[in-house]
């Protein structure tokens, strides 16, 4: 993201917030380099309208986060998945004997010769 200094000065003269929503979003998404981050932080510190916009955008992010589920796993499910993983490891990994799974996989991945 390139920060246009001329546009920044223009906005200051017109008494608009120094920062745009896009710039604040880029900052919140950690998309900026160190220099650009410093620039945004200075603008937030020196312009009340930018600070207000920053607070709105930050609050929106936190609000959105609350609307996204984060389901936790039960002990029983964790135990069951671990046991399944162990079975898969024993059947496929670290096992020199050809298993049914490997045979099926080999069959599926072998190209068919067409005449």
């Amino acid at each position: 993201m390139n920060i246009d200094i001329d546009l920044f000065r223009e906005r200051k003269v017109e008494n608009k917030p120094l920062l745009t929503s896009a710039q604040i979003n880029a900052y919140l998404d950690n998309k900026l380099n160190q220099e650009e981050n410093k620039f945004i932080e200075n603008a937030i510190g020196s312009c009340d309208q930018s600070l207000e916009l920053f607070q709105i955008k930050k609050a929106e992010r936190e609000f959105v986060k609350e609307l996204i589920p984060y389901e936790t796993i039960s002990r029983g499910q964790l135990k069951s998945i671990k046991a399944e993983f162990k079975d898969i490891n024993n059947a496929i990994l670290f096992n020199e004997k050809p298993t049914l799974v490997k045979k099926v996989y080999k069959f599926l991945t072998t190209p068919v010769i067409e005449f």
């Binding site: 998404d29 950690n30 998309k31 929106e60 609000f63 959105v64 986060k65 609307l67 996204i68 589920p69 984060y70 389901e71 936790t72 796993i73 499910q77 964790l78 069951s80 998945i81 671990k82 399944e84 993983f85 162990k86 898969i88 490891n89 024993n90 496929i92 990994l93 670290f94 799974v101 490997k102 996989y105």
Partner: protein
């Protein structure tokens, strides 16, 4: 790599994989099954790589291999969730009033939003995980965030 080392790494990833799988499938048994299937596919695909991985007990090695497992398992779960979309329509799902808007999204939007907000993935990591173009990640992220905000605001106005 030894089996116990691999199982130890996998165990630490299961809770996060489950929360992602659940967000995709919205049903406990489907979420559980999709993780198991994703792991089966991964070990069949990358068997030689996993077996021959020169795993040394250093922090860097652990982080690197754990990242490989996590990203690849998330990708398999995501791809399987797309294929099982039709099947999952017929399951009785728990009703989550507060997450209705999220569950109304398609799986691509759900995955992008979930990885960004819950796992704090960068745009590049989401691209790598879901095999999407940058513009697709950015668009999905922006649109789904906006939809969540709009839906919730409209509900609040309606309730008044």
């Amino acid at each position: 790599m030894k089996t116990d080392e691999l199982e130890y790494l996998l165990s630490s990833l299961i809770p996060k994989l489950y929360s992602f799988a659940f967000a995709m499938m919205q049903e406990e048994s489907m979420a559980e099954q999709i993780i198991i299937d994703a792991y089966s596919v991964l070990v069949v695909k990358d068997r030689e790589f996993i077996e021959n991985y020169k795993y040394e007990d250093t922090k860097k090695e652990k982080v690197s291999f754990k990242r490989y497992l996590f990203i690849n398992l998330l990708r398999e779960i995501f791809e399987m969730s797309l294929k099982r979309k039709t099947h999952s329509k017929y399951l009785i799902k728990r009703n989550f009033k507060e997450y209705n808007s999220f569950y109304s999204f398609d799986n691509q939007q759900k995955a992008v939003l979930f990885l960004k907000e819950n796992f704090e993935f960068s745009i590049e990591m989401i691209q790598e995980t879901l095999q999407l173009e940058k513009h697709q990640v950015v668009e999905n992220l922006y649109n789904s965030r906006q939809k969540l905000l709009d839906t919730d605001v409209s509900l609040s106005v309606g309730e008044l």
